[in-house]
């Protein structure tokens, strides 16, 4: 058992008035829960980012001219 974990377990056991073994179990549960939450967040972020970046490029109708494209890119500075 790493010293840092044992130390944290001893402090938690003192705080809760329980045994070191019980404190170790609580720390493990807390760690597992935090890990699960991180994994959930990573999965959600990955799913959402993939959706944002997936965009269909249909050029069957032609591509706008360079001038039209530039005008569109700068439209935010003109449109209300």
């Amino acid at each position: 058992m790493p010293y840092s974990v044992m130390d944290a377990a001893d402090r938690l056991a003192d705080e809760l008035g329980t045994t070191a073994n019980d404190a170790i179990m609580r720390l493990a549960e807390e760690g597992a829960s935090a890990r699960e939450r991180r994994e959930q967040i990573a999965a959600l972020a990955s799913e959402r980012r993939a959706a944002v970046e997936q965009i269909s490029l249909d050029v069957a109708g032609g591509f706008p001219s360079a001038d039209d494209f530039r005008e569109a890119m700068l439209a935010g500075r003109r449109d209300p």
Binding site: E53, I55, S56, F63, A66, D68, R70, E71, R77, R78
Partner: protein
């Protein structure tokens, strides 16, 4: 180290154009061109809104999104440090310095100025130069940043041809 391109420069990107060629060469050399997140906001907003009115613009939106999502460009986030700098810059200089030169009514000019503030804050906090066609406004922002953080290396503002 590549400079961050501001919106005036990004707006000259076009498939097969000289600027895209330069961008591809930078990526090939392992130094992808940097674009700030506020520039991405501005360009995507403009192209999307235009595509709603003119559907023939839609492929351009897809092209730009794919470009930004690729490894060919690096997007500099408006993160904690950049947000703090941008907030302080806006407080110091709430209105654009070149109002008479800018197009549009006052609210639009201010919107453009806020974006320029965020772009400058992103470039500076990410340690980049800013390449722009809008030298005058970014030189004002460079001076404001230098005033706020006098013991740091100032934002370098370069013309787009030097990027």
């Amino acid at each position: 180290m590549t400079a961050a391109w501001d919106t005036t420069l990004v707006s000259r990107l076009y498939p097969g154009g000289a600027l895209e060629q330069h961008l591809l060469e930078c990526a090939h050399a392992g130094e992808p061109v940097a674009i700030t997140a506020p520039t991405v906001v501005e360009v995507v907003r403009g192209v999307h809104a235009t595509a709603v009115r003119k559907p023939r613009i839609a492929p351009a939106l897809a092209w730009f999104v794919r470009l930004v999502a690729s490894d060919l460009v690096e997007t500099l986030a408006l993160d904690r440090s950049a947000a703090i700098v941008a907030g302080r810059l806006r407080a110091m200089h709430p209105t654009p310095p070149t109002g008479a030169r800018r197009t549009g009514v006052k609210p639009e000019q201010r919107a453009g100025w806020v974006l320029d503030i965020q772009i400058a804050a992103c470039a500076w906090t990410h340690g980049r130069e800013i390449a722009t066609e809008n030298l005058r406004d970014f030189e004002v922002l460079r001076d404001l940043i230098a005033q706020l953080y006098p013991n740091t290396t100032p934002l370098a503002v370069i013309t787009s041809s030097a990027s």
